[in-house]
Symmetry: C2
């Protein structure tokens, strides 16, 4: 019998309890053992809830119960989640988490603690919600030199951008609608400024390199500057605009960033819409692979946590491989990455564009301005050239 | 030191040797041990090849060498691959294979043999080439009741259909071109009649259900009946035509089939083009997830084999979980599955269509005939209704 404690009976935590309950027979068949949620830790009581009797308020009850071999940390935040996780691991209890903030900040330390105590710190749900990506990176892409990862890693911004693309709606209107529907927070900064996606690409970059990539070092740009006219241009050339979190090997080193990108119609990321997320990985042998699914949501995210629980149950006393050392990876400046750029310019800039960007492909959808797409060049080259153009409105990277 | 033997120095086998060689340092870092190909078994000699000295012609050299802990079976076919695999497993050597025919026919037996000998029979490369799908099904989708799998699982037919869609080319012309480029066999039957995809969906269906689904029981229809006019209709309603391998739970039981389907523009499988493959999985908790990548090709397929080799190296003396019993699953007749259908009819059939399919959405692209899309109904209902329609040219299922 595998006995599990769930920390935090919120959206994800209650989903974990539901899946272990509803799919119990099937999980038993696959892991070869009975599985049961014994405790739910929460500050609140849940009178009338079917799991009311399992709710406890004191973490020590869980920590001191030798029957508990797996703890699901679905609380979020660093305090007290860090200490709870650390204590569980030191007691030899595996921890399965959906907490990207904790994983980004303390991942390698907690992995090391797990290893020292013959248990596991697993975090499939911390990136891409229900999409299997962490375990495939740890167990399937093992022989690959991963050259690039491009991810749509935030459901809120992808919902907003998809709505803007399909309905020609304004950013502010769609954000308000998303807030009313509960898809966006009242304070949407973490999503719309790219911080949530930034933490997730920091985690994926760490797994890609085996070292620690810090979110603080990831260059982040959000979607607040994207407007309906940008989408008119995108439509005119068959592209979409997505907030991409990218990590790539360049001649100058690893570059990681979050920024809006225009993506061509033929690219698999182009069709990733609404609350769906996807991670597009390029290996030196495998070529391109993509993992697609719901990037958020109660049951999708909880399924990833329970998937980790099953792996822990199958590997009692054994630490699963995860190459993520505490050694910090110094990221290179994005200026070395090479790509094409989309640029919007006021009509007055036409001559200067012709002088500077000789192979510019022009696009016209509106009076008084035009846009063009550059050839491939480094970000540094592009920035330098752009200084000689008059009336630049904005630029967007091309994927 | 992990010492590996590769059986068959053809396309995939030589790719395995290349990846272990080129990515050696990186693999060592991730599996924590040195890895080396010690033998290559082939009937031929390879004078001048850098691995010439590793080539042996007698399998017993490999079988009797206690240093060899992992055998890569990249020969294809059942004889002698079955016996070689069985012998290796009985000697406690893990086997990693790309051989879908062998896996479909003897998978559960070889898995059982591996378990009895504390080693592994792994087959990531047998379905979807380089796409990680077998290991995610075994280790990530564990808590999911998988309700449906829809896969584009054959690169040759997807290449042909993509060419037909993009260039308005005839089936026969594109097939010839694919044969000249080496993308299709001189005898293309296994691909174009859906047999290759059928074996692969049989393997995935077995992992989905935990029982054995036989290819012989999978209903298969190929792409030889698809013509340029079908694509004109598909374009007119924003759809594509793909050869799908599907497996689903219906009220009557599990239904597995391979057949051409029309797929709407919004479906992620719509954009899977050329030699790319994808597996679209629907779980009862997770919702939809998709795994996308190169379905064939030397290095992509070999990467999946080497990924299995790494898992074996990390799990010496331990059999990884794979729920696939020898108990046969009786598939239900496809007549119970429910969907929409696209139907082409000669002009004379217009009145009978109006009588029988009251909610038909008509599409016109050509004189003398028309097409329509039905509402949702079971295959059995559809077949019955179609008998009352005059001048039916053909029908294609909608995904």
């Amino acid at each position: 019998m595998v006995k599990v404690a769930v920390l935090g009976y919120g959206t994800v935590g209650s989903g974990v309890v539901q899946i272990i309950d509803d799919n119990n027979a099937l999980i038993k068949e696959r892991i070869g053992d009975d599985i049961e949620v014994k405790y739910i830790l929460d500050l609140r009581d849940f009178p009338g809830d079917k799991n009311e009797a399992k709710v406890v308020h004191d973490y020590n009850i869980i920590l001191n119960d030798p029957e508990i071999s797996i703890v699901c940390e679905t609380m979020g935040g660093v305090k007290p989640a860090y200490q709870f996780s650390k204590d569980a691991l030191e007691a030899g209890k595996s921890v399965c988490t959906s907490n990207k903030e904790l994983v980004e900040n303390y991942g390698p330390e907690l992995i090391k603690t797990a290893r020292a105590n013959n248990c596991n710190y697993l975090f499939e749900a911390s990136v891409g919600g229900g999409i299997p990506i962490i375990r495939p990176m740890n167990t399937s892409l093992v022989p690959e030199n991963i050259q690039r990862i491009m991810g749509i890693l935030n459901g809120t911004t992808n919902y907003i951008l998809t709505k803007m693309a399909k309905e020609g709606a304004d950013y502010a209107d769609v954000l308000k609608e998303a807030q009313d529907l509960g898809y966006a927070e009242r304070n949407p900064e973490a999503d719309v400024e790219g911080h949530d996606a930034g933490r997730k690409i920091a985690i994926l970059s760490s797994l890609m390199t085996g070292k620690t990539v810090k979110f603080a070092d990831v260059h982040t740009e959000g979607i607040t500057g994207i407007d309906t006219v940008d989408f008119e241009y995108a439509h005119a050339c068959g592209k979409s605009i997505k907030l991409l979190a990218t990590s790539e090997q360049t001649d100058a080193g690893y570059v990681a960033m979050v920024a809006p990108f225009m993506i061509g119609a033929d690219h698999p990321l182009n069709g990733v819409n609404g609350v769906f997320n996807a991670v597009y990985v390029t290996g030196n042998m495998l070529g391109d692979v993509m993992f697609y699914g719901q990037g958020a949501g109660k049951l999708a995210t909880a399924s990833a946590v329970v998937s980790d629980v099953c792996e822990c149950a199958r590997n009692v006393g054994r630490t699963l491989p995860c190459v993520w050392s505490e050694e910090k990876l110094e990221l290179a400046d994005p200026s070395a990455s090479v790509r094409k750029f989309f640029v919007r310019v006021k009509a007055e800039g036409e001559n200067s564009v012709a002088d500077v960007f000789k192979d510019a492909e022009k696009i016209r959808v509106k009076d008084g301005e035009f846009a063009f797409v550059t050839g491939e060049m480094s970000e540094a080259d592009f920035k330098l050239k752009l200084e000689s153009v008059n009336g630049v409105i904005k630029s967007i990277r091309l994927a």
